[in-house]
């Protein structure tokens, strides 16, 4: 047992505490140092995953249920209850953890020169909240006890609420409350699922113990460990045959509904609000438009990924039959998100809103890829999350750069910025083309994999019309190209406008933020195996095998 993950999570907290005490001028330095420290610490995880050759399919990387850097202690214990401080990492959490520390570091740099600092307002509170937010996000990706996961998930909301509400734009109060209420609405459903899953797992183990006469049930993934009571352990819930059998059996009911179907939906809505998918997406444009640029970067880069991560960590491994039942509906919602998000993006005249709606569209691919339950689908969804986590913060920062100078975001009032700001124009083109899904850049791989995965589901009886869906998803690429190219034409190309002549090109700090994301967009596009797939596929394929097996076993 080592404490590396705890260090990664709580280094930002230490930074936040330090920020409370250092002089005001030093706060930014402390915050950037803390987030850089978290980034460096998270990079120390690479050797574990580069270890190579342990996966069955020859992938380096981890298996589902094969955890690294595990840390577990009892936290809240009752007469028959154990909530654990249980951290661990596998191929699902690892890339998202790296993404989080990276985006948080870049967003911290992006916060260096905010407007409010000139009047000296709230700099200390801002960075304290920012670092606490980073702790919350990191905690979500590595905590494997459902209760701990839930705490991190909720706690992360508070700093986000204040970051949008205090440092946001004109309608910040509305946006912050809307964001909070939507997410809270989803998470209370998750809380119901959390409590229900605990008691149902308790019941499953109790009846198994009664049947066999033993006083414990062997753990599903830990050698030499036996369970006597219900558990919040997410891996145990997914791998223990007794619990899985009970959870997914048709005879297990919750309020008269089939348990797995019902719980899957509760969890799904919680995560779908975060992702967001179409009926639940309306908080996103508001929150993005009102949030300050660095907070938008975090929101798009990391927070949305928690929804996708939640699907992959909770919904599918624990309730495979629920996934099967809802597969078609979820895929349809995914397609609708892709198309509707793209159409909305096309209609926007606000630069930031356009990028926000493009996120809805891109996250639709994640949902579609996961819903079809094929290897390529899962892999593509995961890749799409990472790719979007790089391209989308970049786009938001690009919007922020021009907003800092022009103080408005009306697309139609811009023009010819590439001529005025050549370096900015080049980087912006890379960022938006990555978002567009140009072959060779990161957005392409995820979309193609998802579409391939959707085709591959054509023999699945739960997924009628899979080829049609794949065609629809593929055709959405045209819409994406439409709004991005139109955007580039209106903002960066065309006649130079006089009022923007005096704009300075991107500064060294801004370049420092944009270049890593630009480099990664290209690297992910050209070396998808080495940058993402090798780390994630072992876990994802193993999980999919488990899902398919459970669906096969349970009629």
């Amino acid at each position: 047992m080592d404490h590396l993950l705890s260090w990664i999570i709580f280094v930002p907290t230490l930074g936040a505490i330090l920020c409370l005490f250092v002089p005001k001028r030093q706060v930014r330095v402390v915050a950037v140092t803390a987030s850089l420290a978290a980034l460096i610490l998270s990079l120390l995880l690479f050797p574990t995953f580069l270890g190579g050759g342990e996966g069955a399919a020859g992938y380096s990387g981890s298996h589902y249920g094969e955890l690294h850097h595990v840390e577990r202690h009892e936290w809240i214990t009752g007469s028959n209850l154990a909530i654990e401080y249980f951290l661990g990492i596998d191929g699902l959490g690892f890339p998202l953890l790296i993404l989080t520390t990276l985006v948080a570091f870049l967003a911290c740099l992006a916060s260096w020169n905010m407007e409010s600092w000139k009047v000296g307002k709230g700099i200390r509170a801002y960075f304290v909240l920012f670092l606490l937010l980073e702790t919350g996000m990191l905690g979500v990706f590595v905590s494997l006890d459902f209760f701990l996961f839930y705490i991190f998930w909720e706690v992360m909301l508070l700093p986000m609420y204040f970051l949008i509400g205090v440092w946001g734009g004109e309608r910040r109060e509305y946006a912050a409350i809307k964001f909070f209420l939507f997410t809270l609405g989803g998470s209370v459903l998750m809380l119901v699922a959390l409590v229900a899953m605990y008691f149902y797992s308790d019941g499953a183990l109790a009846s198994e113990m009664q049947r066999t006469g033993a006083d414990a049930v062997a753990s599903g993934y830990r050698d030499g460990v036996a369970l006597t009571h219900g558990t919040f352990d997410l891996i145990e819930l997914a791998t223990n045959k007794v619990i899985q059998g009970h959870f997914n059996a048709a005879s297990t009911v919750f309020l008269g509904l089939k348990f797995s179907t019902c719980m899957f939906m509760f969890l799904f809505i919680g995560f779908a609000i975060k992702l967001p998918v179409v009926p639940f997406h309306t908080w996103l444009p508001d929150a993005h438009v009102q949030a300050p640029t660095p907070v938008s970067m975090i929101l798009a880069g990391v927070l949305l990924k928690m929804g996708g991560y939640g699907f992959l960590r909770l919904c599918y491994p624990i309730f495979p039959t629920g996934g099967e039942t809802w597969a078609f509906l979820l895929a349809v919602i995914g397609i609708v998100s892709i198309l509707y998000g793209a159409l909305c993006a096309m209609a926007q005249t606000d630069f930031k809103k356009l990028v926000a709606y493009s996120s809805v569209s891109h996250m639709g691919y994640v949902l579609l890829g996961i819903a079809v339950m094929t290897e390529a689908g899962f892999q593509g969804a995961m890749f799409q999350m990472i790719a979007h986590g790089i391209s989308s913060p970049m786009c938001f920062f690009l919007v922020g750069v021009v907003y800092d100078r022009a103080h408005h975001r009306e697309i139609n009032r811009f023009g010819g910025l590439w001529m005025t700001m050549p370096r900015y124009g080049t980087l912006a083109t890379i960022g938006f083309f990555a978002s567009l899904g140009l072959p060779g850049l990161c957005g392409f791989i995820g979309e193609v994999w998802v579409i391939l995965g959707t085709f591959a589901a054509k023999d699945n009886p739960a997924m009628p019309w899979a080829p049609t869906m794949a065609v629809l998803a593929a055709s959405a690429v045209v819409l994406t190209a439409g709004y991005i190219l139109w955007l580039i034409r209106r903002v960066y190309l065309g006649r130079e406008r006089e009022e923007y002549q005096s704009f300075p090109d991107v500064s060294a700090r801004e370049t420092m933020i944009l270049v890593p994301m630009a480099v990664l967009s290209i690297a992910l596009g050209i070396f998808p195996m080495q940058t993402v797939f090798n780390f994630t596929n072992g876990t994802l394929d193993n999980m999919l095998r488990h899902v398919v097996q459970v669906i096969g076993l349970v009629p």
Binding site: I76, T77, G78, S79, N80, L81, K121, A125, Y150, I151, E154, V155, L157, L158, Y161, F162, G165, V166, R172, E173, A176, I177, F180, L181, L184, G185, V188, L189, L191, V192, V195, A196, Y198, F199, Y200, D202, G203, A204, L205, A206, S207, E208, M209, Q210, H246, S251, T252, V253, F254, L255, G256
Partner: protein
């Protein structure tokens, strides 16, 4: 029982009584020095009573005489009421005008004395007197709390409705006496419940009428819908610090009395009563939260929030006790945990309102709270903690409290007759959390996001700020370490388990998928 034994058992109550009388005399003197010393003396009395309570440790439940039963429940209520009482005095330190301070502090002590006696009452008459002892001082406290016509109006309104509820309560108690022929609540040793018919073990019709009236009378005290109408007006009229007390002290007494009422029939509630309480809980929390959404006056908003919290606690009451399981399964333990947490967080929210004033007096509307955060970051932070705790949001104790109620509701096995309605009720409670976030967030947003051209005037002095700080700190500490309070709460229910299981055979639940290990008495 020898008299000396009675005196030692009731030492905390006696300290309060003597202290209150002493303060009344001190307050009557014309020495200015003694008057400024009065709140401090009040705190000393409470600390002395608290020290005696804690040093005495948990009673073994063997003392029962004179209509009193000193049980583990008494112990829990004693130290919770006295601890929160100290905070209440800290928050009320500067109230009211100098000349009336002695009476004011003495009345707070007397009201707390009523809570303590409610917790040890084992006779309907003693219970009635104890509950009135809680209420009567509060009528005067409201009128004394500030020189404002609204305070006088609130006091009168509260008095008349309180008198009405007392009449209903007394009327119901007379029926219970008629049904059983005794005023004793529980026969401690034998577990004989005289209210139930010997033939069927159910409530007779006379006892049923009495039960319903007592329930209605106590619903007034805890401000459950539809007996809540006084709460917003009274909370708005009284000064904010005393409102923090009004939200907690009568509610604690009311719930302790409800626990005793339900325990008196062995928690063997007829199905009609179960549904009645179910509806009462669902309507109370939903109406409280929805109407709170429409308020612009912060005190009215918090009044409706306190009504909503009554609803959550009624859920826990309906779940009922389970022996030896702790608040995760035991509804009564969850209720006792929740009400202690609620007392502190509610007081904290009102203390924040009391800590600033505007030109027209107290902070009234949400707009009055604008800009508090930039003016006083520490106070705003404490407010935020208390409000997020009221919302039931981690990392605060309010979350743990809600979680306990939720888990207790879920811990019924699926084939239990009332398991499904309880699940639905738990989901209603959870949905209410989201509704409540709608107005709690407006309070936080007003303090943090709102801008004000004029700064608010700090009022209330440092004791109030200390009280606020302790309330908010307690919320964080109890989140990280809930076991201490939870353990106390589950031990406090031991007295109830004894009588319940003695009165009623334990139902052993066996289902197709287990839960066989949970012994659960029928709630």
């Amino acid at each position: 029982m020898p008299a000396s034994n009675l005196l030692t058992q009731l030492l905390p109550e006696l300290i309060l009584l003597v202290g209150a009388c002493g303060l009344l005399f001190l307050g009557a003197t014309r020495l200015a020095a003694s008057r400024s010393f009065l709140p401090f003396a009040g705190v000393l009395v409470l600390v002395a009573a608290l020290v005696v309570t804690i040093r005495r440790g948990e009673p073994d439940g063997s003392f029962a005489a004179m209509g009193l039963w000193i049980s583990s429940l008494t112990h829990y209520v004693r130290w919770v009421a006295l601890s929160v009482g100290i905070l209440i005095l800290l928050v009320n330190w500067y109230l009211p005008v100098q000349e009336e301070r002695g009476e004011f502090v003495a009345l707070i002590l007397l009201s707390l004395l009523g809570v303590l006696l409610t917790a040890s009452a084992n006779d309907w008459l003693v219970l009635f007197f104890a509950i009135e002892l809680v209420s009567i001082p509060t009528y005067i406290l409201i009128a004394l709390s500030r020189l404002d016509q609204r305070a006088a109006e609130a006091s009168v309104k509260y008095f008349f409705l309180g008198a009405l509820s007392a009449a209903i309560l007394a009327f119901g108690l007379s029926f219970l006496y008629g049904a059983s022929g005794t005023t004793q609540i529980q026969h401690i040793a034998g577990g004989v419940i005289s209210l139930t018919l010997p033939s069927t073990g159910e409530l007779g019709s006379i006892a049923m009428i009495g039960f319903l009236f007592v329930l209605a009378g106590l619903a007034f005290k805890v401000a459950a819908v539809p007996f809540h109408v006084y709460a917003p007006d009274v909370y708005e009229g009284a000064a904010a610090p005393i409102t923090g007390m009004l939200g907690f002290v009568p509610k604690l007494a009311g719930f302790v009395a409800l626990i005793k009422l339900f325990a008196a029939i062995g928690w063997n509630l007829p199905i009609e009563i179960k549904w009645l309480v179910w509806i009462l809980a669902a309507v109370t929390m939903t109406a409280g939260n929805v109407i709170a959404l429409l308020q612009d006056n912060v005190k009215r908003m918090l009044a409706y929030s306190s009504i909503a919290h009554t609803g959550y606690m009624l859920v826990a009451l309906l779940i009922g006790p389970v022996a030896g399981e702790g608040p995760m399964h035991d509804g009564v333990a969850a209720l006792l945990f929740y009400i202690a947490v609620y007392g502190a967080m509610n007081l904290g929210a009102f203390a924040m309102i009391a800590s600033f004033g505007r030109k027209h007096g107290e902070l009234e509307t949400l707009d009055d709270m604008n800009g508090i955060a930039s003016q006083a970051p520490a106070v705003a932070l404490a407010l935020a903690i208390c409000v997020f705790s009221l919302m039931g949001f981690p990392p605060t104790a309010g979350f743990i409290g809600k979680l306990y109620i939720l888990t207790a509701a879920f811990s019924f096995s699926a084939d239990h007759a009332f398991a499904q309605p309880l699940l639905v009720l738990a989901i209603v409670a959870v949905v209410n959390t989201v509704i409540s976030a709608g107005y709690y967030l407006r309070i936080v947003a007003a303090a943090y996001v709102g801008k004000s051209s004029t700064p608010a005037n700090p009022t209330g002095g440092f004791t109030l700020r200390w009280g606020l700080a302790v309330c908010s700190l307690a919320m964080l500490v109890l989140f990280v370490w809930p076991r201490g309070l939870a353990g106390q709460a589950s031990r406090a229910t031991a007295a109830i388990h004894d009588s319940v299981s003695a009165a009623h055979t334990v139902v052993r639940v066996d289902t197709d998928f287990g839960n066989a290990q949970v012994d659960r008495t029928s709630p």
